[in-house]
Structure formats: structure tokens, C-alpha cells
């Protein structure tokens, strides 16, 4: 019963390590009967080695197809207070900046209408509010919107775009990730709130190739800051690094260059920028001596995903360099062209990366109106049979 403390011997073990424990945090909220039953159900799951949640269904707020993930207990008779335990995804501010007043407001709303349990933040980037009932969804939504918040994406929609902290705190940001993320979010409200795609579509913006939001592995569309001129070198600072003896220039920097485009003669560092792939390893190793170039923009990659339906995919290049300038029309045009094609021809639950694999990159590029270029090649071809269309046509002529 929810009015008594449930025994949780298995969960208790998860509090015993030196690391932070979600069980410990949940127990702080057990004054809420939903949380008490949640702890009981979770203990039961560890005992049965089975997840006792069903998810999906018809829950949501009026007009929206995303932002609420229905969760129902399949052992509701035993844990009635968490029979319905829906999740709400709240669109986070770009870069995850809040004031403490706003955080308190969100928590107050959630304690009033839900379990009070939050997850800051989910893997999509949203504020995750865990656990409420169907009748509380609409009142929660109304209070959140009055406080200036909106629901994020879920289902077969554009998911809430997210980004690194960008120029607000990071010296490496090569474009304003927060501004772009905010603009894309506002431009594509319909695509986020009204699912119209074959499956989910995630956009993540990283300010530099360090890719702190891991967009290359987690976003259907990754927009990663880069530059196209030369790395700026301060040779005195390079020599100072070597003189300090903190690392071995050859072993730690030059030999780790993925394209072997660097050389060090003991006095001067040289970089063949035409062969540099902008991985940023050398810049990270010697931030006082090396800096990115000044002709900055972003590379757009497409297709990564986690292994839900098929295997995991990493993104690959689709636009090698693009200036990131307001009103961001180029990015929006590419995005819209991809969506138009994929939405019409994608199979149900087929991510855009899988769609490209199925129809072929050449066909995909042709249909969205992009010219192929060498940067799009992920690996050398293994099929030795090459058909040169122009040559054969000429030969026939």
C-alpha cells in the first residue's frame, strides 16, 4: 500500500557505492505516494528482471502530438498510485541556462501536478518531468506555458533541437549554437508538435569538432562548427610547450594527427592545412599555441542513430561547409528538402540514415538537389566494378 514504506532491499544496494544514486534521490521524494509506489514497482522489476511499464497510447495535450509519453504500469493493482506515470518533455532553453527562480517555478508546478521527480536533462536535451496522470496533463501544460515554457518533441516528429553552450562559455565555439538552435526550434514548431515523419528526427548543434553534445552519434542531423582556412600557429608558444616538458610533440601531437598532415623539426611546427580534417586534436593539446582559422562556419552531417530498430549509425557529411548566418536560410532549405523526400518515401519507423542506406547516397543527393563531393565519402569503395556513364555513352556514339 502507498501509505506505508515499501521494502526495497535490491534498490538499497544501489545506494551503497561512492557514486551518486538515483535511488537515494527518489527516496527523498517518497513523501509523494506516487514515488513510494514507483520505488515498489522498481524493486519488483529488479526482482522479476522485467520492466513493468507499457508506453505510448493516446495521452497528450490538445492539438499536440508530442511532448507527452504515456506510461502505464502493468502491475497497477499492486502499485495503484503509479498506475499512470506519464512523462512530460519540456523544451529546454538553448544551452540549458536557467535562473534559480525559473527552476523553482518548474519544480513547484510539477510538485502540484505530478510526482515531483525530474530528470535534468533527458538524452534529447529536454527537461523531463516524470510521472503524472492523464487528467493532470492539460493543467500542467497550461501552467508551464503561462511560465513561458512549451512542450518538446516526441514520437515521429522533429525532436527538440539541442546544442552545446556555444559562445556563451566556450572559446572554441565557431558559430553561435544557441542562436541557431533557438531559431530552428521556433521555425519548425509545427514539425516538433505535430508528428508527420516516418520516425523521429533529431537536430543537434555543436560549436566545434569536439562535439560536446555528441551530435555525430546521436542526431539525425548534426551541425558541427568548423573552419576552412588555416590553423593559426604561434610558433613561440609551440616551443614553450615543448620546453615545459609536459608532453612529447611527436608522440602526443604529430603522430596522432589522423591525416599525418603535421611535421615538427624540433623548432618549427608545420601543418599542411589542405589535408587537415579539422579534428581539433592538436588544438586541444596545445590551446595556447594553436587556434582554429577565422573563416568559420559549420559542417552538416546526417544519419546517426542509436540501435533501437536497426544497428547504430554515425552521421556522415552532407554539406562540407556552410556559413552560419541569420536567417539561416541555407540550413532550413536543406532540412526541408530532406524532410520532404524522407516523409514521402521513408518506411514506417525508418530513420533518415537508414533511408539513405536503402535508396543510396547518390539517389538521395540527386533528389534533394545537392552535388556529390569527396567529403561525403565515408570509406573507399570495395566494389571494383565501376561504370563510367559518360565514357560508355561516348563510346556508343
Amino acid at each position: 500500500m502507498a501509505d506505508q514504506k515499501r521494502e526495497t532491499p535490491r534498490l538499497d544496494q544501489l545506494e551503497s557505492g561512492p557514486w551518486p544514486s538515483f535511488v537515494k534521490e527518489l527516496k527523498k521524494s517518497r513523501k509523494n505516494p506516487m514515488t513510494e509506489d514507483l520505488l515498489g514497482q522498481l524493486e519488483r522489476s529488479y526482482e522479476d528482471k522485467v520492466v513493468h511499464w507499457k508506453h505510448g497510447g493516446l495521452v497528450g495535450v490538445k492539438g499536440y502530438g508530442g511532448g507527452v509519453i504515456g506510461r502505464y504500469s502493468d502491475v497497477a493493482a499492486e502499485f495503484p498510485k503509479c498506475a499512470e506515470f506519464h512523462t512530460m518533455r519540456i523544451n529546454q532553453p538553448a544551452g540549458w541556462f536557467y535562473t534559480s527562480t525559473v527552476l523553482r517555478k518548474i519544480c513547484d508546478i510539477w510538485e502540484k501536478h505530478g510526482s515531483g521527480i525530474t530528470n535534468m536533462h533527458g538524452s534529447t536535451g529536454d527537461v523531463i518531468l516524470l510521472g503524472t496522470t492523464t487528467p493532470e496533463l492539460e493543467p500542467t501544460f497550461q501552467e508551464l506555458t503561462a511560465a513561458g515554457f512549451d512542450l518538446g518533441g516526441s514520437g515521429s516528429a522533429m525532436r527538440t533541437p539541442s546544442c552545446c553552450c556555444g559562445m556563451s562559455r566556450c572559446e572554441w565555439a565557431l558559430y553561435d549554437t544557441m542562436a541557431l538552435t533557438h531559431d530552428l526550434t521556433m521555425t519548425f514548431q509545427d514539425e516538433m508538435h505535430r508528428p508527420a515523419f516516418p520516425y523521429k528526427f533529431k537536430i543537434k548543434c555543436s560549436g566545434c569538432p569536439n562535439d560536446c553534445v555528441a551530435s555525430i552519434a546521436r542526431a539525425d542531423m548534426s551541425i558541427i562548427g568548423t573552419w576552412r582556412d588555416d590553423i593559426r600557429i604561434d610558433q613561440d608558444a609551440v616551443r614553450a610547450y615543448v620546453a615545459a616538458g609536459t608532453f612529447d610533440m611527436s608522440a602526443d601531437v604529430v603522430d596522432r594527427c589522423p591525416t599525418r598532415c603535421m611535421h615538427w623539426d624540433g623548432k618549427k611546427l608545420g601543418i599542411d592545412d589542405s589535408n587537415c580534417v579539422k579534428c581539433m586534436h592538436c588544438i586541444n593539446a596545445m590551446p595556447k599555441a594553436l587556434r582554429p582559422g577565422t573563416d568559420r562556419g559549420a559542417v552538416i552531417l546526417i544519419g546517426s542513430k542509436a540501435p533501437i530498430m536497426g544497428g547504430a549509425l554515425l552521421s556522415s557529411v552532407i554539406v562540407p561547409f556552410l556559413k552560419i548566418e541569420t536567417p539561416y536560410d541555407d540550413i532550413k532549405e536543406v532540412t526541408q528538402a530532406i524532410w520532404d523526400l524522407w516523409a514521402e518515401h521513408g518506411k514506417n519507423r525508418e530513420r533518415v540514415g537508414e533511408f539513405i542506406q536503402r535508396i543510396g547516397l547518390g539517389s538521395f543527393l540527386e533528389q534533394i538537389g545537392l552535388e556529390p563531393c569527396p567529403e561525403m565519402v565515408m570509406q573507399p569503395r570495395t566494389n571494383p566494378y565501376i561504370f563510367y556513364e559518360d565514357e560508355s555513352e561516348n563510346a556508343e556514339g
Partner: protein, 81 residues
């Protein structure tokens, strides 16, 4: 060029289709859009018009979204009618 159908006409036709398929087949918004373009013809009914019609249906509550592995259009449960 023929006159375009109105958003309301498309919304009504969409509602009819969703009602017919209720309990038999899950319809994605793109399935409904394609069906409308086929019904009215490309010259009279565009994707944008269908998008507006879907929005109208959802905002009015005549149809709702469901999630069954993917997002679909369906009718609200009887209690909500």
C-alpha cells in the same frame, strides 16, 4: 488550373477516412495526406493544405495523435467525445 479545395473540405475528408479506418488500420499523417492528394488531385490539394487541415482537426479535438511505436492519427476515445 482547377480551383483548390478548402482546408475545411480536406479536414472533413480526412476525418471521414480516419473514422473509416478507426480500429482497423493505423494511419500516419503522411498516409492521410497522400490519400487526400489522390482523392482531390495534385492540382487541387497540396501537402501544405493537408498540413493545415491536420492542424485544424487536431486543434479542434476531432482527431488526436496516438503513439504505437510511431505517431498516428486517430479518433479521441469515446469518453472524450
Amino acid at each position: 488550373m482547377s480551383d483548390q479545395v478548402t482546408v475545411d473540405e480536406v479536414a472533413d475528408a480526412m476525418f471521414e477516412l480516419v473514422s473509416e479506418c478507426y480500429g482497423k488500420k493505423n494511419l500516419k499523417p503522411m498516409d492521410v495526406t497522400k490519400a487526400m492528394i489522390q482523392k482531390f488531385g495534385e492540382d487541387k490539394c497540396s501537402k501544405q493544405l493537408c498540413k493545415e487541415a491536420i492542424r485544424k482537426l487536431m486543434d479542434s479535438g476531432r482527431t488526436i495523435y496516438s503513439y504505437v511505436g510511431g505517431s498516428y492519427m486517430t479518433l479521441p476515445p469515446p469518453a472524450a467525445k
